[in-house]
Every structure is written in structure tokens, then in C-alpha cells.
């Protein structure tokens, strides 16, 4: 694996952008998740009404990949809007990262930039951490 493939421009861009970073005061669900193998942590807050996700915010103490993943996730979730579509998005991202789909499917959007991480088991966990927090938050309100 080449380093440039792993740390692509899109990932650097999102690492700096930090979309959704900074916990919002108003929320309907809050989840704290850790990666037990390395100690990285995320706190995620979600505000919703009925089946609509109104806002998502997070605070990540983790590596570039987990932080960039959280940022990409925020932009994708804000586009997806409904809880059903967010759940579909999560499943597509999970399957893609675990290698079930050879090419990044269009449904995973900018998460396709994490393609190279699929050859390293330990870093897949970094990228999935924000998504696992998101699923847990959705589960808690549905």
C-alpha cells in the first residue's frame, strides 16, 4: 500500500474541514464510543424530529483517519436527512470498508477516498469508529 493512496487529498481536506466538529448544545441522542485497541474516542450528538436527522455534531480524539471519517460522515448524513437513508448509508460504508464491494460504490460518496484502508485491519476500525457511534445514536432514538 502506498502512503499517498491512504492519505488522499480528500482525507486531508476533511481532516482540516472538520465538518460537524464541536458538540451542539441541543440534541436528542448522545453516544460515546471508543476504539478499545487504541483508545481513540468519539462523542456524537444527534438532533432529530420524527424520522428526520436535523443535526449531527461530534468531538473526536483520534487519528487523521477517524477525524476525517467523522467529517465526511457529517456531510453525507446532512445530505441523506432521513433516518432510513442514513441507516442505508451506514451499511453501504461498512460493507465497502470490510471489502464486500470491490470498487467504492456511488452510495458511499466521499467515503470512497478511504479505499486503501481496506488492506489494513487495524485502520478500518479507525474509519468505522464515527459510523459505529452514528448507528448507536440512531438505534437509541428509533
Amino acid at each position: 500500500m502506498k502512503l499517498d493512496d491512504l492519505y488522499r487529498d480528500v482525507i486531508a481536506k476533511h481532516y482540516r474541514l472538520r465538518s460537524g466538529h464541536g458538540l451542539q448544545d441541543e440534541f436528542t441522542a448522545e453516544v460515546h464510543k471508543v476504539n478499545p485497541s487504541c483508545g481513540d474516542e468519539i462523542t456524537l450528538r444527534l438532533r432529530h424530529h420524527d424520522d428526520i436527522v436535523d443535526e449531527l455534531s461530534h468531538e473526536v480524539a483520534g487519528c487523521t483517519l477517524s477525524q476525517a471519517s467523522a467529517s465526511v460522515m457529517h456531510t453525507l448524513v446532512m445530505e441523506a436527512k432521513t433516518a432510513d437513508r442514513v441507516a442505508e448509508l451506514h451499511d453501504a460504508v461498512r460493507d465497502f470498508l470490510r471489502g464486500a464491494t470491490p470498487e467504492p460504490p456511488a452510495s458511499v460518496g466521499a467515503m470512497g477516498a478511504f479505499e486503501a484502508v481496506r488492506s489494513t485491519g487495524s485502520r478500518v476500525r479507525c474509519v468505522l469508529l464515527p459510523w459505529q457511534a452514528l448507528t448507536a445514536a440512531l438505534k437509541s432514538v428509533r
Binding site: L3, Y7, G39
Partner: protein
Amino acid sequence: MTAVDRTPALPRLDSRSVRADFPLLTASDASSLVYLDSAATTQRPRAVLDAEREFLEHSNAACHRGAHRLAEQATAAYEDARTVVAAYLGGDPSEVVFTKSATEAINLLAFSLGSPGTGADSLSIRPGDEVVVSELEHHANLVPWQELCRRTDATLRYIPSTPNGCLDLTVLDEVIGERTALVSVTLQSNVTGAVTDTAPIVRAARRAGALVAVDACQAAGRIPIDVRALDVDFLVLSSHKMLGPSGIGVLWGRFDLLERMPPFLTGGSMIETVTLTGATYADPPRRFEPGVPPVSQAVGFAAAIGYLQGLGEQRVLDHEVELTGYALAELRALPGVRTLGPDDPARRPGIISFVVDGVHAHDVAQILDDDDIAVRAGHQCAWPLHRALGVTATVRASVHVYNGHDDIDRLVSGVRRAREFFAAQGFIDLEEHA
């Protein structure tokens, strides 16, 4: 030590010739490998691999059962290994319990001390008792004691870390007192490398009438160990962190204490008599060794100790101190790099953990891996210490007998490259993280 050491100084360890003894490090696919993860597990010299193979090809059998020739050979090999370990530790063979790991050894101790006692001389932990650990502990010397306290209604207390990752010995009198039943601390931190000055801890524990256990996983194989000089009651160590096979560890305990302890895992081999309704147990150490023991691992472990002693334990320590001093100086000279732990390499041989400002430990390790340099990154199974030191994750480079200055030079270049790489990719601004 008061007597003047009159032994002529041995020449320094030559890491290049040592490395030639390690097949993994000299294999054709390892030409660019820099292995700096020995605190996680060490590589094994040919002497260890050969000893295991020799045993398996000529003497393998279940020991302590059967009367055939191979069984006798296996039993002798296993007990010889116990004698080698005992001599290494300065203890008696009857005090050496083989376990599957150091983690199991600590769990054995915690479980046995947590069993309801029978008789007046029981060592059982009781409700209201206190167990003292430290903030520096590896999870393996923390979680078993948390569980013991939960089961027995005892209270867990801890000796905090100083800001540079050593045990804060100034608070001993507050933490260790008449309620203390047991103190269990690391002999060397797996994160900061800090070697524990056990003497004041043992003194405080003795005043309180408490038992003392030490986790010597990192110290063993780096620092000469003498259980009588340490004056502790229990000590655990792990073969695979001292050039030996995995799957075997040791609980050393004072015989008079082991004798008073009930078994942990029960079954075959550890009994004296069995009826349908009950059993009596063998004397230590066999009381704590149920099932068919890992004989080839014990043989390999003894060979590892023999190999280390052949190099010379003091020479090994001098080598670790020397390399650690070099690594600390070189890493600290890099902008944006902060090392954790004491400044004096003699107080923290072999283990160098650091953080790179603006670059997460995982990302540093990824760049190093790209240069074929193996390090550890994360909380290193010492989450409380990381919290105490105010860091989420650290990078740990750990050296052993086969590492040389060339390895440290490669590490330092790799860390420099990590900073430059993430700056070039637009992740960090080097001026902000100088």
C-alpha cells in the same frame, strides 16, 4: 551495593553479531526491517528455536504422567526448565509456578487470594481490606485486582503517577496503611520505561503487614532480577518478552505463602487424592499447574534465559541503557517531539514512548511501517496512565539485545519523515507544531 565490583568490564554488546543469532531479523525478507516492538514481544534466537525443536523431535511426551522413556525425559526437561527459571530469579524451584502467561499468573494470584479462606493462616482478602496498585499499571495488573475487589468487597487504591510517569512515592504513607492486604505494582512501566524503586514500597507494605507482588514483565530480560534482594512475596513474568516462546509465563511466590493458597484452575495433575465427593491438592508449585503443561515452551524459555545469561545480564542492561540514552537524545532534538518518562536512561532502560505534536500516534506508526519500522501505537494497555499524562495515544519504540544505533537512526529519520509527510499532504502546519 557496597563491595567494589572487581570483575573486569566486559566489552560492549555487539548488536550486529547478536542479530545474526535471530533468524527472523536476518531473513532475506527482513533486509529493511527495524524491529522496535520488543516490549510487546521479543524475537527469538536460534538457540530457543533449536531447543524447542530438539525437544519435540526427540523427547516430546506429556510430563508428570506415564512411566515410559519419553515421559521421563519430558518430565526431566520440564523440571530442569523450572530450575533454570528459579536460578534466574534467585528463588527455589518449588516457588516457580508455570502459567500460560503473566496475565494468567496475576489472575491466579488474584483468584486464589480472593477465594474464601479455610483456617487461621488463610491469606484471603476480606471485605474492608484494601488492595493497592499504581496508576502506571498495564491493564493485566489492574483489571484482575478490580475484579478481586468487586468479588470480595475490598477497596482498590492506587499510587498515582508523577508528571513524568514514575510512581509517586511521596504518598505511600497515605495509600498504604493498616487496611492494606496486598500491594501489586509494576517493576518497570511498559509505557514510560520507569523502573520502580520497590524498597520504600516494600517497607511501607511490611509496616502495614501487607503482601507485595511485582509485575516484572518488562523488567525481566532487561534488568537483572533477584527476588530475595527485592524482598517481595510474588513476582510475575512472561517468557515471550525475554526472547522465549509465547504461551508460558511464571508466577514466583514465597513457598510458605504458596503453601497457604488454594488452587485457581483445578483438574488433573494438581491433586493429591480424589474421591467422587472431594479432592485434596498437591503441594506447590504443582497445585497451580493443572493439565498437561507446555513442556516445549518451558524448554525454549530455559534456553532463552541461558542465551541472555550467555550474553551477560549486566551487559544486556548496559546495552539497553546506552541505546535508550541515544534514542532519547536524538528524538528530543526533533522539533515537535516529546518523550515521556524520566530523563535518565538508567532509570528507564529499553522503552521510549513519545508523541509527535499534531500527528496522532497511529499516523506516525503508519509512516514508520511504510519505512518497515515496527513500533507500538495506542494506549499500550495502560489507559489510566495515558489519561494521567494527558495523552490519548503514544508511539512506543522498545529495544532489545538485537537493536543497534542504526535502528535508532532509522527511527529518527522515520519520525522526521512523518512530520514532513503530513505537512506536505496538508494535514498539519509545521510552524504551528514546532
